[in-house]
């Protein structure tokens, strides 16, 4: 066993880890990881609400369509979704799509399916009396969902959403496969260039991912406690 770690490789490549070739080229590294996670999170929040609403809808075709979609996506690995987007989206659209957007779309589709289950659970957690009371004051069913049930449900969903964001940060590492220069890709590039420091490099990025994810995991736990006390 040779335990002679040499961390200079980390320091000399620090800017590359942080932002990639940013000022002179496209954004990369940790910054791109966070960017992908954030954009995909916002989009899949919207996607999750739409799919979740379809899921609890009383209109049967809509309900079964969304159920089929959600179950299909949850049944396959994320890597397959990325491949579908990467190889087949250009074929359908007839033009190329930037890798960043391929990955963002794949992550959004994938995460929306999981978010929709959170939305569904959140909506179902609102007591039925609320719906009945709102209906009896003369609101239409759509108004009841939009102004009474959804806002209360969303509050219960916040911790789960934060957990999904953590999963998203971890999942952005798969963008590596289609050549997006986020943190994992940057690390493999540096590893290929320097060759003899794989242990240091991969331990370092594992630590970076850990710091990012653990921050949000702790946040979600704190929120869970706070929201539970108030309810």
């Amino acid at each position: 066993m040779s335990v002679d770690f040499d961390c200079t490789v980390i320091w000399t490549n620090m800017t590359y880890f942080l932002v990639g070739r940013f000022p002179h080229g496209p954004l990369g590294g940790i910054a791109l990881t966070l960017y992908l996670a954030l954009v995909a999170c916002l989009l899949s929040f919207i996607g999750g609400i739409i799919l979740g609403m379809m899921n609890v809808s009383s209109y049967k075709p809509l309900k079964y369509l969304s159920l089929a979609l959600v179950n299909a996506i949850r049944g396959i690995p994320l890597i397959m979704v990325i491949f579908w987007m990467y190889f087949l989206l250009p074929a359908f659209l007839g033009r190329t799509v930037a890798e960043n957007w391929t990955v963002i779309l794949a992550l959004t589709l994938f995460t929306s399916a999981y978010m929709s289950q959170i939305v569904k659970a959140g909506v179902e957690s609102v007591p039925k009396g609320q719906t009945e009371a709102a209906l009896s004051t003369g609101l239409s069913p759509r108004q009841v969902m939009l102004f009474i049930v959804l806002p209360q449900g969303l509050r219960n969903m916040i911790p789960s959403f934060v957990n999904q964001f953590v999963s998203l940060i971890k999942d952005t590492s798969l963008a590596f496969i289609v050549g997006v220069s986020e943190l994992t890709q940057v690390a493999t590039q540096i590893n290929n260039r320097t060759i003899i420091y794989p242990t240091e490099i991969f331990m370092f990025i594992a630590a970076v991912y850990f710091v990012m994810c653990f921050t949000f995991t702790s946040l979600s736990r704190r929120l869970e406690k706070r929201l539970a006390w108030k309810l």
């Binding site: 066993m1 335990v3 397959m80 491949f83 971890k170 242990t199």
Partner: protein, 219 residues
């Protein structure tokens, strides 16, 4: 077609071997996390937090590229004699999944009311006996559905092994795409196979919950 079948075989082998290892590791970790001895508990907490909060892909790369510096020489040669890609994937998958399994097992045990333990002990069982004859038989039944779900996740996660050259189902689909340009067919076939695996496993969970959990729901 033969490629896809051989890929499926690898996927199943990879998932099953990793699952057995992950279950054993997870059991040990769950017990450690509940132990009254603090250092053990801290170790378990650190382990669970670290491996749950880093991407599986990075862990796979670490074991594949970087583990030779932290593992003893003998282990390295032994792993190299085996199929190293496969071994690295198994190690990464087992360690990653064990962190999730440990939490499932722990919450299964905690779901059994404390009074059961007290009742068992007051009727003359020792601590270990009450754990063995009263708590665990009930906890195991509660833990089976989440465990099967973890197995499903593990099967899906095993697709990441393709990145280090394990020739699993996803790898073969990709291979067919680049050799024959029949990407659509290959990816459709692979997707359907994954869907079939997931549906079978999900069906098992439903069946199990209906058959075995119902008597427990009464209290």
């Amino acid at each position: 077609m033969e490629w896809l079948v051989s890929g499926l075989t690898i996927t199943i082998q990879l998932s099953l071997i990793s699952m057995v290892l992950a279950f054993l590791l997870g059991l040990v970790l769950a017990v450690m996390k509940m132990s009254p001895f603090r250092p053990l508990r801290w170790f378990a907490v650190g382990y669970l937090e670290f491996f749950r909060n880093t991407p599986l892909l990075v862990q796979i790369f670490f074991w594949y590229f970087g583990s030779y510096k932290v593992l003893p020489e003998a282990v390295n040669t032994w792993l190299n004699d085996l199929n190293f890609e496969f071994a690295a994937a198994v190690i990464a998958l087992a360690i990653y999944t064990s962190a999730f399994i440990a939490e499932d097992i722990r919450s299964g045990i905690r779901a059994i009311p404390k009074a059961q333990m007290e009742a068992a002990q007051s009727s003359g069982f020792s601590y270990l006996q009450s754990l063995r004859f009263v708590i665990l038989p009930q906890a195991v039944r509660l833990t089976v559905p989440p465990l099967i779900n973890q197995f499903l996740n593990l099967t899906k996660n095993s697709s990441l092994a393709m990145t280090i050259g394990v020739m699993d189902l996803t790898y073969q689909a990709r291979q067919i795409e680049s050799y024959t340009f029949k990407g659509l067919e290959a990816f459709t076939a692979a997707t359907l196979v994954y869907l079939a695996i997931s549906s079978i496993i999900a069906g098992l969970v439903t069946l199990y919950s209906r058959k075995a959990l119902f008597p427990l729901k009464v209290h």
